[in-house]
C-alpha cells in the first residue's frame, strides 16, 4: 500500500454532546461558528404540541438548544423529533396559561406555530429562555433570518405547498427575488431538480403511485413544516417507508440527512470549489475519469454529456473538498443515483454527509469503516441469526463476500434501482442502522436456502437470484389476493423494521466500539506488511526491522500528518509507472518526529523529579543537523521522503563500521559532494557533533570536539589540497583558503578523527548505535509514590489531563524544592567514568537505564511497567468519565436538585400490537395500506391530564 492513512489511530469516541449533535444531524461546522460567539448549549425537559390543523398527540421529550439550532426528540427518540435552524423562528412568546405552567409558542417563518411546554423547574426554564433569546439575537445579527427566504425558493416543497398556503405565499412574495440563488436550479424552475425530471425517473410512476404520494406529502408538509422546518412526526416516517415520491425525493433526502443545513449555510461554496480548482488534476480526478462512463451506464442521462459532466463535477468537487478521502469506487454509483433526484449542489452536500457522518470511513483510503461495519454485521448475524452464522462457519462461507457491496453502494449495485431507492429513503430517515436491519432481513428471509449453500459462490448466486425476484409476490400461492399482492420487497422491509427493530443506533454504536481496535489492528498490520513487501529494497534490514521503521513513520505521521498526496502532472506518456502512483511522503516536520523515534540524539529527554513522580518529558529536537540529514536522504530531490528513502537512509548509517561511519559523516557535510569540506563545513560538522553530544554529562565530549576543531584546522592548513591535482579549473591556488573553498578531504578528516579516542569510539560504535529500531520506552518511569497522587493519576489517563497533572505536580515540587530536571544523554557512555558522583546523586538506578545503554530492552520496560502513571491509550472509557468539567458537574448537581420528577414514562414503548390501525391514513387510494407502512406504535408517554393541558396551551394567549 503506497499511501498510509492515520485516521484510524487518531479516532476519538464522540462525546455525549457530539452524539446528541449527530442524532440531530447537525453539522459540526455550523455549530462551530456559534461556539465562537460564546453561545452555550442547554437541554431541558419539554412537551411538544402543534398548533393549527395538526391533530397529532403531544409528545414528551427533551428540547435541546444547540446554537444555531433548536432540536427536540420525544422520549423514545424515534416517534417525534425536529431540528430547526433558529433563523426560521420569527417569534417566541411565553403563553399565559394555568399557574405553574411554563410554555413557549414558537412561530416559524411560514406561520406555523409550535408550542413547547418547559417542564423543568422555573429557574431552569428561565435560564433556557434567556439562552434561547441570546442565540436568536446572534442569528439575527448574522443576517441568517433574511437568508431563509431566498433559500427556501430552491426547495421543491415550497412550490408544492405554496398554492394553498397564503401565509407563506405572502412571505415569499414580499421580497422580490434578488440575485439568483447560487447552485444550479434549472432555468425554468426556481427549485433544484435532478436529472430525473428531464431523463425520467426509474420505475413506472403509476405503479409507484406517485400522484397519491405527492398528495399525502403535500398535506403533511403544510401542517408539519418542510425543508428547513420539517417536524418529523410518526406519519413522516411512515410516509418515508412507503417510498418517497420521485420529485420530492431529492429534497427529502437532504432534509432527512441534514445535508440541507450544509447547503443552507454554505451558499455558493460548491461552485466556488469547482472554480478554485479548475483544471487541477490529481489521482482522484484520474480515477473519477475512468469511472464516469461506468456509473449507472444504462440510465439515459449517463449516456449524455449533461449527465456525465454533472457527475464529474460533483465527484471532483468532493475530492477537492476532501483530498484525504479523494475518490473511492462506489461513490460514482452513489453520486450517479443521487443526481437522478437532486441537483449537483444538493448531491455534493449529501455526499459529504454520507462520507463523513452516515458511513464514516467507508470510502477512506483504508476503508476501515467498511471493514468495521462488516465485522459489526457479522456479529449481529451471530446474535440474531445464530443458526445461519454457525452454518456459514461450518462450510467456511464469508458473509462479507456478499454483504460488503450492499453496504458500500447502499444496495444500488445489488438490487433494482426502484427498490434500492426505497431502502435509501429509510436510510436517510432512520440512519445507518437500516442497512443492518435490511441485511439481517435478507438473510432471515432466505434462511432455509442459505442452509443449503456449500461455498461463497453459492451464497452470492442465491443472493443474486433473490434480488432479481424482489418485484415478485411474496406469497404467490396464497388464496388471499391481498397477501398475493405483497411483493417480496415489501416483505423485506416488513421483516427489516418489525423483526429487527431491536437493532438501534445504540446497538450499532456499541458494536462498532467493540470491534474498532480489532479492525484497526488488522488494517495496520496489513498495510504494514504490504508496505514492507512493496519496498524496492529492504537493504540490510530484516522485515521486522523494516516494520519498525514503518511503525516509527506511522507514529510520526499521527503527530504531524503529511499533506495529502497530490499527483504531479504526468511528465511524459512513457513514465516508468512509479512516478504516477500516489505515495506517502513526509516533509521535514514529520521527519523530525520520525527521527526522534529512532535516533536518541534527535529527541530532548528531560528526566523530571518533583517529589511526587519521576517522569521523562520528551520533545522532538530541532537542529540544522537533522534538516541536513533530511536532504541527504532525499535522493530523488522531492523535498519529501518516502518509506523507501527512510529505509535506505537508515541503512546507510546503521550497519557501518568505523571507517564507513567516518566517511558517512563526512559525506553528510560535504554539500557539493566534491570530496572536500570547506572551512564552513568543518565548522558545521563540529556543530553537528556538539548537537549530538549536547546532553552528555561531563565535558569529555566537549573537549573532544574542541580538540577536533583545533586539529582539523591544523592538519587542514598543513595539508592544503593542491587544486591542480583536483583538476578544478575555477579554483585558483590561494594561500589563504576562503570559507567556501575546498579545504579538508576525507583522508585528513579521518586522520583528525582517529587522533581522538572519544571521537574514534563515537564513530566506531556510538553513531550507529544511536539509531535504535525498537520502541522508545514509555514516557513515564515507575512512580516512586503510589499513594494518593498515584491513584489520582491512574484516574486521569487522558493525555491532556496528564499534562495538567504533570504541571501541577511540578509546581508543587518547585514550591517544596524537590523539582529537578535532568537531560538524558543521547549516548551516555562516558558519564559513568567521568562523573560517577554527580550522576549517582542525581539519578536513581531506574533512570540510569537510558535507552542507549540499558540492557533490559525498551520493549521489556514498556510491557513490564504497569505503573499507575503509564498512559493507557486503550482506557478510553475511563478517560471519558474523567472528562466531566467542574462546571457541568455543578450544573448537573443543580439540575438534579431542582428538577421535579419526570413524567411517568411508559416503559412499554415498544409494544408491537395495535399497528394495524396505523395503516389507514384516510387515503382511499390505499397507499398507506401497504403492509410495509408498518411502524412501531408511538407512545408519547403522556398522561390524560397532560394531554388536556397540551390542548389548552394551543389556545392560550401570550403573556403580555
Amino acid at each position: 500500500m503506497s499511501t498510509i492513512s492515520t485516521q484510524l489511530r487518531t479516532f476519538k469516541e464522540p462525546t455525549k454532546e457530539q452524539l446528541t449533535q449527530l442524532f440531530f444531524s447537525i453539522p459540526p461546522s455550523i455549530t462551530a461558528r456559534s461556539e465562537k460567539d460564546g453561545l452555550e448549549r442547554m437541554e431541558i425537559n419539554a412537551v411538544l404540541s402543534l398548533s393549527a390543523e395538526a391533530e397529532e398527540d403531544s409528545y414528551a421529550g427533551k428540547l435541546y438548544l444547540i446554537p444555531p439550532f433548536l432540536s427536540f426528540a420525544s422520549l423514545d427518540r424515534k416517534s417525534c423529533r425536529f431540528t430547526l435552524p433558529l433563523c426560521t423562528i420569527r417569534r417566541v412568546e411565553r403563553l399565559n396559561a394555568r399557574a405553574g405552567i411554563y410554555a413557549l409558542s414558537l412561530s416559524l417563518w411560514h406561520g406555523m406555530k409550535i408550542v413547547v411546554q418547559l417542564t423543568s423547574l422555573r429557574p431552569t426554564a428561565d435560564l433556557f429562555c434567556s439562552m434561547l433569546r441570546d442565540a436568536l439575537k446572534a442569528e439575527l445579527q448574522h443576517g441568517q433570518m433574511k437568508a431563509v427566504r431566498n433559500f427556501v425558493k430552491t426547495c421543491y416543497s415550497e412550490t408544492l405547498v405554496l398554492s394553498t398556503s397564503p401565509a407563506a405565499e405572502e412571505e415569499l412574495e414580499e421580497k422580490t427575488p434578488q440575485e439568483g440563488q447560487e447552485g444550479s436550479p434549472s432555468n425554468d424552475t426556481p427549485y433544484h431538480v435532478g436529472l430525473g425530471l428531464k431523463f425520467k425517473f426509474p420505475g413506472d410512476p403509476k405503479k409507484l403511485r406517485e400522484a397519491s404520494k405527492v398528495k399525502l406529502w403535500t398535506t403533511y408538509l403544510k401542517t408539519h413544516g418542510r425543508n428547513l422546518t420539517l417536524l418529523r412526526y410518526p406519519q413522516c416516517t411512515r410516509l418515508v417507508q412507503v417510498g418517497l415520491p420521485n420529485r420530492l425525493r431529492g429534497e427529502m433526502w437532504e432534509v432527512l440527512s441534514g445535508s440541507l443545513f450544509l447547503r443552507f449555510s454554505n451558499p455558493g461554496l460548491y461552485e466556488q470549489i469547482l472554480e478554485d480548482n479548475k483544471g487541477r488534476t490529481s489521482t482522484s480526478t484520474e480515477d473519477i475519469e475512468k469511472d464516469l462512463h461506468r456509473s449507472l451506464p444504462e440510465y439515459s442521462a449517463y449516456q449524455s454529456e449533461e449527465g456525465i459532466s454533472a457527475l464529474r463535477r460533483v465527484l471532483q468537487a468532493y475530492s477537492f473538498q476532501n483530498p484525504e478521502l479523494g475518490y473511492c469506487q462506489a461513490m460514482n454509483i452513489l453520486a450517479a443515483a443521487l443526481l437522478i433526484y437532486m441537483s449537483e449542489e444538493q448531491a455534493f452536500w449529501l455526499l459529504e454527509v454520507i462520507c463523513d457522518r452516515l458511513l464514516p470511513g467507508y470510502y477512506s483510503t483504508s476503508m476501515h469503516g467498511t471493514l468495521l461495519d462488516q465485522r459489526v454485521f457479522e456479529s449481529l448475524v451471530q446474535k440474531c441469526l445464530p443458526i445461519i452464522h454457525d452454518y456459514f462457519q461450518e462450510v467456511d462461507v464469508q458473509l462479507s463476500v456478499a454483504s460488503l457491496p450492499w453496504f458500500l453502494s447502499l444496495f444500488i449495485n445489488s438490487m433494482p434501482m426502484v427498490f434500492a431507492c426505497r431502502i435509501i429513503d429509510c436510510f436517510f430517515c432512520m440512519g445507518p442502522k437500516v442497512l443492518f436491519q435490511v441485511g439481517l432481513a435478507i438473510l432471515k428471509i432466505n434462511g432455509e436456502e442459505l442452509l443449503k449453500i456449500q461455498d461463497d459462490g453459492g451464497f452470492i448466486q442465491l443472493m443474486r437470484s433473490y434480488f432479481a425476484s424482489l418485484g415478485n409476490s411474496a406469497h404467490p400461492k396464497s388464496p388471499d389476493p391481498r397477501a398475493r399482492a405483497i411483493t417480496r420487497f415489501q416483505e423485506l422491509l416488513l421483516v427489516s423494521f418489525r423483526e429487527f427493530a431491536i437493532i438501534t443506533d445504540d446497538t450499532i454504536h456499541n458494536e462498532r466500539r467493540k470491534f474498532r481496535s480489532e479492525i484497526v489492528f488488522s488494517i495496520e498490520s496489513f498495510s504494514k506488511r504490504a508496505a514492507v513487501r512493496n519496498l524496492k529494497s529492504l537493504e540490510r534490514f530484516t522485515k521486522e526491522q523494516a516494520g519498525f521503521i514503518y511503525d516509527a513513520l506511522y507514529r510520526a505521521m499521527c503527530v504531524v500528518p503529511p499533506p495529502a498526496p497530490v499527483m504531479t502532472p504526468v511528465p511524459s506518456l512513457i513514465s516508468d509507472g512509479n512516478e504516477e502512483k500516489p505515495e506517502t511522503r513526509i516533509g521535514l516536520r514529520t521527519f523530525r518526529v520520525f527521527l526522534s523515534e529512532v535516533a536518541t540524539w534527535a529527541r530532548d529527554e528531560k528526566v523530571i523529579i518533583n517529589g511526587f513522580q519521576q517522569r521523562v518529558d520528551r520533545e522532538v529536537a530541532e537542529h540544522e543537523f537533522i534538516d541536513r540529514l533530511f536532504y541527504f536522504w532525499d535522493v530523488s530531490c522531492k523535498g519529501a521522503l518516502s518509506f523507501q528513502d527512510l529505509v535506505s537512509g537508515l541503512d546507510g548509517v546503521m550497519f557501518n563500521d568505523l571507517m564507513e561511519n567516518i566517511e558517512w559523516f563526512f559525506n553528510l557535510h560535504d554539500k557539493n559532494k566534491d570530496g572536500y569540506l570547506t572551512k564552513d563545513e568543518v565548522l558545521t560538522l563540529s556543530e553537528s557533533l556538539l548537537f549530538i553530544f549536547r546532553f552528555e554529562i561531563g565535558d569529555a565530549y566537549l573537549g573532544a570536539v574542541s580538540r577536533f576543531m583545533t586539529n582539523a584546522f591544523e592538519y587542514g592548513d598543513a595539508l592544503l589540497p593542491q587544486p591542480e591535482e583536483k583538476g578544478e579549473e575555477d579554483d585558483a591556488p590561494l594561500p589563504d583558503i576562503g570559507h567556501n573553498q575546498p579545504y579538508l578531504n576525507l583522508a585528513t578528516f579521518r586522520m583528525v578523527v582517529l587522533a581522538d579516542e572519544i571521537l574514534e569510539s563515537f564513530f566506531e560504535t556510538d553513531l550507529s548505535a544511536c539509531f535504535k529500531l525498537e520502541p522508545v520506552p514509555m514516557m513515564d518511569l515507575p512512580s516512586s509514590n503510589n499513594g494518593f497522587l498515584g491513584d489520582l493519576i491512574s484516574n486521569i489517563a487522558t493525555d491532556d489531563n496528564k499534562k495538567l497533572f504533570n504541571r501541577f505536580t511540578d509546581r508543587i515540587g518547585q514550591t517544596i524544592g524537590k523539582h529537578q530536571v535532568i537531560h538524558r544523554p543521547a549516548i551516555g557512555r562516558y558519564t559513568k567514568l567521568d562523573e560517577p558522583k554527580a550522576r549517582e546523586s542525581l539519578l536513581t538506578p531506574s533512570m540510569r537505564q537510558s535507552p542507549s545503554t540499558s540492557p533490559t530492552s525498551a520493549t521489556d520496560a514498556a510491557v513490564r511497567v504497569p505503573s499507575p502513571s503509564s498512559v493507557s491509550t486503550s482506557n478510553l472509557s475511563a478517560a471519558e468519565a474523567s472528562k466531566i468539567s467542574p462546571l457541568s458537574m455543578v450544573k448537573n448537581a443543580n439540575d438534579a436538585l431542582m428538577e421535579r420528577p419526570q413524567f411517568a414514562i411508559d416503559d412499554a414503548l415498544d409494544d408491537d400490537g395495535d399497528t394495524d390501525d396505523e395503516f389507514g391514513l384516510g387515503e382511499d387510494d390505499g397507499v398507506m395500506d401497504e403492509v410495509d407502512a408498518f411502524l412501531e406504535a408511538h407512545d408519547s408517554g403522556l398522561t390524560e391530564e397532560q394531554r388536556e393541558l397540551a390542548k389548552d396551551l394551543l389556545n392560550a394567549k401570550p403573556v403580555k
Partner: protein, 256 residues
Amino acid sequence: MAESGSGAADKSVQVKLVLLGEAAVGKSSIVLRFVSNEFQANKEPTIGAAFLTQKCRLEDRVLRYEIWDTAGQERFHSLAPMYYRNAQAAVVVYDVTKASSLEKAKSWVKELQRQANPNIVIALAGNKLDLVQPSSSSSGATSMPESEDEADDATATPGEAAAPGEQPESLRQVPRDEAEAYAKEAGLLFFETSAKTGEGVVEIFTEIAKKIPIEHILASSRGTGRPGAAGRSGAAQEGGVSLEENGAKGKDACNC
C-alpha cells in the same frame, strides 16, 4: 500433467480463480467475454467483487471455474485476501496501454506468491490489445455480435483518447517482450488479450486448466469436503473480513 488424472475424467472439477489488477484494466470485461462471449463498452466498476461461473472442457475433463472478479482501486486492496483465499488460480491483468498497471500487476504477483495458496497457478494478462493493433479497429471484431455498440466506447476507455488517425502502436506503453520476460522470470503464464475482440481470452483459461494440479484438488476435496477448508477454518472464524490473509499459515509463510 493434468491429463494423467485417472479416475477424475468424468467428474467436473471446481477451480476457484481470482482476477486481480489495477482499476479499469478490463478484468470484468475479460470475465464477461469468457463467460458469455460479450463485451460491454461501459462496464460498471466492480464493488468488492463479482462472482461468476463457467465450465471449461479440457480434453476428457470438465472444469468448473468459480471466478472472483475483484475491484481494482488501490483502496480495495485490503479486501483482496478475502477473495483470493483458497484460490487455485489467479489471473493478474494489466493494460498494455498503461505502464503503471504492470507495476501494480507485479505487486499483486508478489503478494499472491507470498500469501496465497502455495500451489496457485498465476497467469499474467496484458489486456486491451486491440488498442495497439493497427488493423483491429477498422476490420472489426471477428464475428462478434456486439460490434455495433463498440462504436461509442471510444470515450469510455482512457487509453482510447488517441485520434483515429494516430498510429495505434504508439499507445502501447508495455512492450510485449518486457512483460513476457518478467512473466517467465516469475514463473507465470503469459498472454496478451483483448476483451473487446476476444483475442487471447479463452486461452488464458484453457492454459490455466492444463496447468492446474487437478488430482491434487480432487484428492483434497474428497478428503475434507473443500480444498483447503480444513486448514483455514481457523482463519475464517476470525470474522467477516479477515485481513490476516491465511490465518496461521500466512504468519509463517511471510514473517513480516
